[in-house]
């Protein structure tokens, strides 16, 4: 029988099908961060359980970590307790732990792929909706709640209903200044934030194939913003070249064996998906959001659409301080955030630097540039991007989730506008009252040097 890529990986991990119930699925990799794990460890302790397969589990703090002075104790005592609790739990339960200032620390969804911990064919979960990121490597990866984290700690399994499958095919070539981020924001604007709920998405088509690994990670990262359980891209030569030689990737004979298996990981030609969607890459332009969910996006040269008549739409524009029908080009902004599991990788810093090179940061803009990991930070310096950015008036901060959800000190003040490369523009996401406009690193860079919303193609 013809199978989709998703079916192949899911089926290979079924421990049992519960009668009139969910699938018991084996999990190859559990990632834990400090926010969604403490109650799971407490539950384990209360039940007197040990971790079933501690070597399958990797822990690192990322949400609370400050983006400066990480060598000193965290100032916020509540954040410090949460970060310390993860370290203690990892030690007590015998788990791998990359603490703050550890050279392997960073945002869990940046670290997993870059260290070769995330591999094709794996099942991967984490108490974090952006676990969908790892699907870019050809894995079945999805976010879970804390009770489910506890299930995996206790049994290396999870009970889960089998999602439906959707293939989104994007053919054609992306235009100038159009990135993977714009592809995702474009799809969300068409499908809404619930358009893929209940589905696991496979991205296909020539425009997806042409993306670098970093681009695919960005694309899959944002799958959850369409409501999808996860997103994935079939592994190919781009994937294999990316993985080869990475720290935890298989080596020697094991590599050859793994590679032979990974090459079978693609949807059969006659595989049937529950839903098929197609887009043309040529229709996509640099995108920006105007509302308070990621589906409220538009091409940067377009106008905010007229109200759909719902209370939610009116509330959203009111919060943002925008009017239906207006263009956002030329609007003054206050903050720029480059980073997050969405756009905190080396390619994102290259893109940002390519725009600001030879220019100066606008005086009215506060810019936070936050690498996704220490490995990204090291590469920025190795490539001399730090010099380019510094000359343009930008400083690089230390790695973490930072202003994406403002659990550390990186909060956008109430009423201020932030052009952000992160993943969510929900009310208060970047700080109470903050107004977030999601965009690509190129668009964020253009806004950072002009101080207003700007089409990045003007600088290309």
């Amino acid at each position: 029988m013809a199978n989709t890529l998703f079916d192949k990986i899911w089926d290979a991990h079924i421990v049992q099908q519960v009668e009139d119930g969910p699938t018991q699925l084996y999990i190859d990799r559990l990632y834990c961060h400090e926010v969604t794990s403490p109650q799971a460890f407490a539950g384990m302790r209360a039940r007197g359980l040990k971790c079933f397969r501690p070597d399958h589990i990797y822990c690192m703090p990322d949400h609370n970590t400050p983006t400066h002075d990480q060598d000193k104790p965290i100032e916020d005592p509540v954040s410090k307790t949460q970060v310390d609790t993860l370290a203690k739990n990892a030690e007590e339960f015998g788990l791998n732990h990359f603490g703050m200032m550890h050279p392997k620390n960073g945002i869990i969804h940046v670290v997993g792929p870059e260290r070769g911990l995330t591999l094709p064919g794996m099942t991967i979960v984490c108490g974090d909706s952006h676990t969908s990121t790892h699907g870019a490597m050809g894995a079945v990866a999805f976010g879970i709640g804390t009770s489910e984290v506890e299930m995996v700690l206790a049994s290396q399994c999870i009970l889960q209903a089998r999602p439906k499958t959707m293939r989104i095919t994007i053919d054609g070539e992306l235009g100038k200044g159009v990135t993977a981020k714009d592809m995702a924001l474009y799809m969300m604007s068409k499908m809404t934030t619930s358009g893929a709920t209940g589905y696991f998405v496979e991205y296909a088509g020539s425009a997806v194939r042409a993306l670098t690994m970093e681009g695919r990670l960005t694309l899959c990262n944002l799958s959850i913003e369409m409501g999808a359980r996860g997103g994935m891209v079939a592994p190919d030569e781009t994937t294999f070249a990316y993985i080869k030689g990475r720290e935890y990737a298989p080596k020697g004979e094991a590599w050859e064996k793994a590679l032979a298996y990974w090459k079978t990981l693609k949807s059969d030609e006659d595989a049937v998906f529950d839903k098929e969607v197609r887009y043309d890459a040529a229709d996509i332009q640099p995108m920006i959001t105007y509302g308070t969910n990621p589906g409220m996006g538009m091409g940067i040269t377009e106008q905010i659409p007229q109200s759909d008549g719902t209370a939610s739409f009116e509330k959203s524009l009111n919060y943002m301080g925008f009017q239906a029908g207006e263009s956002l080009l030329g609007k003054k902004i206050d903050y720029v955030f480059l980073g997050a599991c969405t756009n905190g990788r080396i390619e994102d810093f290259r893109a940002f630097a390519s725009i600001v090179k030879g220019h100066k940061k606008a005086d009215n803009v506060i810019a936070w540039l936050v690498p996704g990991s220490w490995m990204v930070d090291a590469q920025i310096r190795e490539e001399g991007l730090d010099k380019v950015l510094e000359e343009a008036g930008f400083a690089i901060r230390q790695p973490g989730c930072s202003a994406c959800l403002a659990m550390n000190d990186d909060k956008i003040p109430a009423g201020k506008y932030s052009v952000s490369t992160s993943n969510r523009n929900f009310e208060g996401r970047q700080g109470p009252g903050a107004r977030t406009l999601l965009a690509s690193p190129l668009t964020a860079a253009a806004a950072a040097i002009t101080g207003v919303i700007t089409d990045p193609r003007e600088f290309m």
Partner: protein, 198 residues
């Protein structure tokens, strides 16, 4: 909290907004707790809609309106989108809701509710619209959610709809069992899978 679930008859709290995301249900700054303090999370349910930036009560928000109350929250479509934070389900449970009714739930949040013995009930758009109308017409009207029969009934109109839940989860909710109880009893099957897949 493990609470056996059977039939709940209650008045409802209406929240007719769409795409209510988990950042609104419980903002990120309240996720720093390391224990499952349902009261703390319940007190901060919809924090930034319940309180003004200066900390004063926002009387316009439904939770602060004494006209409405009960164990059933009725919300617009795509409830619980966004972050996987289970704290959102803890906040809903901690506030005292046992049921959330909507025409559409985000996947992760739906699981989180179920794992906390809060029942997500998916109804048709038409049923939901009529339910909002009934609640606003008479805030004292009651809704019956019958888990054994898998039905929800608008007592004002007498209209009833059947909702879906798989047999396994229904059994868990009605008997106060959780998935971890199930999984740890199945370790031999897990080891057998591991041996077979090597």
């Amino acid at each position: 909290m493990k609470q056996k679930f059977n039939i709940i008859t209650s008045t409802c709290v209406p929240l007719p907004l769409e795409n209510v995301d988990t950042d609104q249900i419980i903002p990120a700054r309240f996720l720093k707790a390391t224990t499952r303090e349902e009261k703390f999370f319940g007190d901060n349910l919809f924090r930034d809609w319940r309180y003004r930036p200066d900390g004063s009560l926002n009387e316009e928000f439904v939770l602060n309106n004494p006209t409405f109350g009960g164990e059933i929250l009725v919300a617009g479509k795509n409830f619980g989108s966004g972050s996987s934070r289970e704290h959102a389900a803890w906040a809903i449970a901690g506030y005292g809701f046992r049921v959330v009714v909507s025409s559409f739930f985000a996947d992760i949040h739906k699981n989180n509710e179920l794992n906390n013995f809060v029942l997500p009930v998916v109804v048709s758009e038409a049923f939901l619209k009529e339910l909002f109308d009934s609640i606003y017409a008479n805030p004292k009207m009651q809704v019956e959610v019958n888990l054994p029969e898998q039905t929800i009934t608008n007592k004002a109109t007498g209209k009833s709809e059947r909702f879906e839940i798989n047999g396994y989860k229904k059994h868990c909710l009605m008997n106060g069992l959780d998935d971890i109880d199930f999984l740890v009893e199945n370790k031999d099957k897990i080891e057998a899978w591991e041996n077979a897949s090597r």
